[in-house]
Amino acid sequence: MFFNFLLFELKLRLKSVSTYVFFLLTALLPFFAVSTQGFGPIGSGKILLNSPFAVLLIITFVMFYGSILLAAIFGPAILRDFNQDTYQLIFTKPISKYSYLGGRWAGSMITAIFVFSGIVFGTALGTMMPWTDKLRLAPNDFGMYFRAFFSMGVVEIFFLGTLFFCVAALTRNIVVVYLQGVALVALYFIEAIAVITSNKLDRTWASICDPMGLIMNQSLTRYWTVAEKNTLLPHWTGVFLYNRLLWMGVGALALIAAFVFFPMSAEVLGSRRSTKHAKAARAEEEAQGKPRSRFGVELPRVTQIFGAMTTWKQLLSLTRLRFFNIVRELPFWAIAMLMLLFALIGGHFAGNNNGVEVWPVTYLMVSIVSGNAGLFLIIIGALYAGEVIWRERDVRFEQIHDSLPLRDWADFVSKFLALAMVETLLVSVIWVCGLISQITQGYFRFEMVHYAKELYLVFLPQMLTIVLLALFLQTLLGNKFIGHAVVIGFFILIPTLYSWGFENRLYMFGEITPYTYSDMNGYGHFVMALFWSISYWLFVGCLLGVFAVMFARRGTEQSFAARLKTARPRVARLIPAAAAFSLLAAICGAVFYYNTHILNEFRTAKQSRHRAAAYEQLYKKYERLPQPKITAVDVAVDIYPERRSFSATGSYRLVNHTDKPIDEVHITDTQESLQDVAFDRGSKQTLGDKVHFYSIYKLDQPLRPNETMKMNFHVGHTSRGFKDGNERPEFAYNGTFFDRDYFPFIGYNQRIELDDPVRRREEKLPALEEMAPPGDPYYSNINLFTSDSEWVTFHALVSTSADQIAIAPGDLKRSWTENGRRYFDYSMGDTRINNFFSFLSGSFSEKSDQWKNVKLDIYYQPGHEFNLDKMMDASKTGLEYYQKNFSDYQFDEFRVLEFPRYRRFAQSFPGTVPFSEDIGFIERLKKPDDIDLLYFVTAHELAHQWWGHQLIGSATQGSNMMAESLAEYSALKVMEKKYGEDMTRKFLRYELDGYLRGRAGESRHEPPLVLVQREPYVWYQKGSMTMFALADYIGEDKVNLALRNFLEKNRYAQGPFPDTRGFVAALREQTPPELQYVVTDMFESIVLYDNRAVSATYIETPDKKYKVTLKVASLKKKADGSGNETPMTIHDLIDVGVFSGSKEHLKRLNLHKEWISQENSTFEFVVDEQPTFAGIDPYNKLIDRNPGDNLTSVEKQ
């Protein structure tokens, strides 16, 4: 009996097309993810696209999006009988519940496993495609594929599918089944968002409770190195095991529930239906009364009026009808509620900007609520486009509807209007969500106009364009589901096209130019681009609408030939409308094309990369060509903010510090801004490669050794119209900020080289050249930051429009207004600076203060007053600390300048720090122990005035740590002065996390700290941890002394420049012999610890004290650049300690360092208070891949 049902079920599924369609669907994502780089969740780098890690991630993704397929497979298994009313036939027969439910369930289970095995099939097929990058593939390991598929896929099919099966069996209502699916996904999203945004480091419980495995796998593998990701699957132990067991348990319970509670009788099952029928019948009888015959019935006479007014009324009536048809549907409400939920969740976290709490300003709020709700608006638009187009046919009302005296266009327009009303309504709901979220977070600066602009003028038109497309497709295609499939295909196609390098928004349907709103610059220069691209696609959409009217179904014939015939008489009438929309679209398209292709050069990302690659191929041969160095910069810069342009003239003083005459000067025009160059002697341009930004000038008289020469130049940038994305972020109506890259670079500029290994392969470039090792004879004489310069003197005369202030490094000598423009004269006087400068212009407010003889200024956007005092405080505390411990501050001023959020960073120029409006200026500390990133960043950038502007290393491996790691360390110490040790520790815990994740994503190889090349996670996160740990071992004063000595020796070095050999030596000088290993391990190697608190117990001593016995385990490993580890013998001094209080707020009872020389050690402590926790390296000063197990609770013995 069971087998009869099972076989029946399987036969049915085997015959059903949907089974194979689902199979292909699940194969699709893995196929593209493996065959096409950049398509799937694995980015570029060394992780193989079919590695265990990648396969697991793909499976998790497919299972997540495929959960709706599970509903579609398991739901109908039971519901089929009820939809087709066969239940009466089945349940009146003597069959057992076990075989009926069991057969159906097992059949669905087998079907689902088959469907999802498409993942393995897709993966394997993806590896065989001719365009696949074989370097990023491992041989197909089907054993691994199936193990991964079993542990993630099959387990999830079991529990989620059974859950669907259970709900279907118990409610017998398909809508409830789908709603359950939607609700599960929604709940899951909420959990995921909450976990990810709460930024908690401990994710044990979140991982165990994670039904889909996204959070679990992410937290299990987040510290895995490339080598591990390419070889390992998570084992069925620990969190992974508990998670799988938990969810299999849920599945088993659901199965039991279905078996126990399913009523196996036709009567019970049918009861709901029959009462419904009975009720209807009764109502009918009541309504009918006694039939009486009537003679000579006269219906009232009516007048029929047809004309424009009637058409209008018909349109209104139809629109109203269609609108209510949509909003009265349960699925609509379900999707709308989900949208509301997502918008509110998003809104709640709008103030969380990548883990940093900021004020939920309107631009953040509106973008997150509309972003979160957008998907649902698209779903509703596409789904109900199908519904309105097919409604009459679905409810079989089409014959009556189609024979109404109604214009063809009015019918279509009413469909569009109904959807437009729905979308407008939902957009208004989004607005309210935004306002509610701002209120609940205590932000009351409501910018209604901005909301209205973003939501109704930018967001809504895009939704309407999609609606028009969906209406068009649904009209043209012969079936609603094909229509939906094509619409979904369209949404997959667009990002796929992008990832294949198609970027032109003239043909990427519905895509508008990317834009950024900034408080400083508003919509600024994006207004025109938005206006024309939104209008363009809206009119194209309208044109599609006209075609939809032409081909709309009317009447009972469905064949395409018949529809062409019906379309023919409409064409003539629709030509004016089609012509009008074509013309409008053409005008908008032409304006767009003129701006993006004629006024501006249209360059795709690929073309830009290609140029950079060609630059390298053509001119790298000149890299070591002897060139003069810049020693003085004098420029006159005119900024025209209202035109987003500037023009500058200037001169360099060049000196030949080589021992041979130089007869050629090479210039790289990094930002394509160079107009002309002249020297103080005759010269001839022998190469002018505008495409690859390179030119060569032959000097009539060579520049002799030690001779100086003047080079005059004219540079500028003129913004014309608008571009299709890639607008230069440097130029804005308010908030201009450009730097040295707009001025000629002498020689070959290595920083133009592509560094992504995949992109380099694409361009047939060899692997990126490794930096030279410390001590390299050539590069020791090259300045790390500005290879074409020595220390320079700097003078700049800057002008801008009358309502703005222009700022450059240097003392402001004079400022005046002339010819309606403001002029500012900045000079560094005799102070030599790193040849690294910037120009800013904006309508700033200014806050000033003084520290000793240093003038402090913050130039900021009015309205961004939130944190000015803290910035000032960080500047003062920093100046105090750095001057006391390192050396004197070299300038008379320190300025912080706000610039638009088109770029997100803060950067240290001599005496000036441009700071993005997005980071810091709107920061908001919610809890007293929140990390004050603004304070830290300000102190960090200030510290660069020492580490980067006084000390510059040579262009060799490791040198950048002497800028970045030291700035991190300095800023941490300043933060500690302000907020105390707990805050620093918390900060370092995030640094550890960041370092471990950074090395997990390494695409080349990880270097030790003092050999770092281009790895920010090493010079920032590992650097700060390492410096801090060293200070903990040998003392802050010793570290500072080492730094002071090293700085004193190398300050303003002219070349050879210092490198990390000298730096390490300076540290070793202050380090006692027994701790020299710390410097070796932390600075010169990659050493990882695995410290673990095994157990801790206490007994109360007779004198009311507590004797604690702590057992710990310690392992020490050395890793190579790819993450392969080898064990090391341990003889290390490590913290051990006992604490009271909670895990979040530990109170130290006894903490000291112990020498640990074997894997397992036991320590005894006597403390005065009752202990709660004890452990080894409890503050995670050492790099430990399982930082969570260093503490354990102390139990009573």
Partner: protein
């Protein structure tokens, strides 16, 4: 006067649904009889502007029904054979909407006709209920109500009595006949009684062709005295009769098989002369047409 000339329609699948149908229909009730698949619905869909014929014309008092669809739709009342409703809408809302669609834009008039029709079709009590909850009969009555909105000049009702119980059927036929005095009403049915009771003129269709057209009474006159019946009790007996005579129909009468045959002369041998009725006309024409 509705005049139809040489109407033909072949579906894309090759089915010849109408073959050269010509017909004149004066105001009043016109019955269209025929078995399933005879082409009745195709014929009516063409008149209701839902289908274009391959050839032929249809004009109503000079109005070209096939070319001028919009004008046709303005004076049309159409009840399709099968139709559904928007399940969430109420009858009164829906009729109001359809009244607007039919150009009844004066609010007062619209209210009057909608309420009048709701009363006439006995839906007044349930007018605010969602149509999705209607029984088959109620839905059919709603269909009738919508077809009669806007005093149509041309009413096309395709199998209107299907699904109605006898009382409802009477009511509907009453309503239709009193409205249909001055306008063209075409009623298709395969129930002979409907035609007999209501229609002054009728036609019989089979395989896309008109096989008889006239007044029901005249049609009956043609077979009067030529219909004979015989009770048979075995298959052999039946076969013998079928071989020798033109059998019109077979009925069960009180558990016995009665065969009715057409014969110009008395067939003798156990046959009794039967009272000819419209059904005999119908079956006689059908069977004769099929024989040819």
């Amino acid at each position: 006067m509705l005049s139809i000339r040489n109407l033909s329609k072949t579906y894309s699948g090759g089915v010849r649904a109408l073959r050269d149908v010509s017909l004149d229909i004066a105001p009043g009730m016109f019955g269209l009889l025929g078995p399933n698949g005879a082409g009745k619905s195709t014929f009516m869909k063409i008149l209701a502007t839902l289908l274009d014929p391959d050839t032929g014309t249809a004009t109503l008092d000079g109005l070209d029904l096939i070319a001028d669809k919009d004008a046709t739709r303005r004076l049309l009342g159409y009840l399709p054979q099968e139709f559904g409703v928007y399940p969430k809408m109420s009858a009164v809302d829906m009729l109001n909407h359809l009244a607007v669609m039919k150009g009844i834009t004066k609010r007062g008039e619209r209210k009057e006709i909608v309420e009048g029709l709701l009363h006439q079709t006995n839906l007044w009590e349930v007018r605010k209920k969602a149509l999705g909850g209607y029984s088959g009969g109620m839905k059919q009555r709603f269909g009738i109500a919508q077809a009669l909105l806007a005093n149509p000049k041309l009413i096309i009702v395709d199998e209107p009595t299907a699904g109605l119980d006898p009382a409802e059927r009477n009511r509907f036929l009453n309503l239709l006949s009193s409205i249909g005095r001055n306008v063209v009403v075409i009623l298709s049915t395969h129930i002979v009684e409907d035609v007999l009771e209501l229609c002054s003129r009728m036609a019989i269709m089979s395989s896309g062709q008109l096989i008889l057209e006239g007044a029901p009474a005249q049609a009956v006159d043609c077979v009067k005295g030529k219909v004979w019946s015989k009770v048979v009790s075995t298959d052999t007996e039946r076969d013998t009769v079928e071989k020798s005579f033109h059998v019109i129909s077979a009925h069960m009468v009180a558990g016995l098989n009665e065969l009715r045959i057409y014969s110009e002369t008395a067939p003798g041998d156990g046959f009794a002369q039967a009272e000819a009725d419209l059904e005999d006309v119908y079956f006689f024409n059908l069977t004769r047409h099929q024989r040819n």
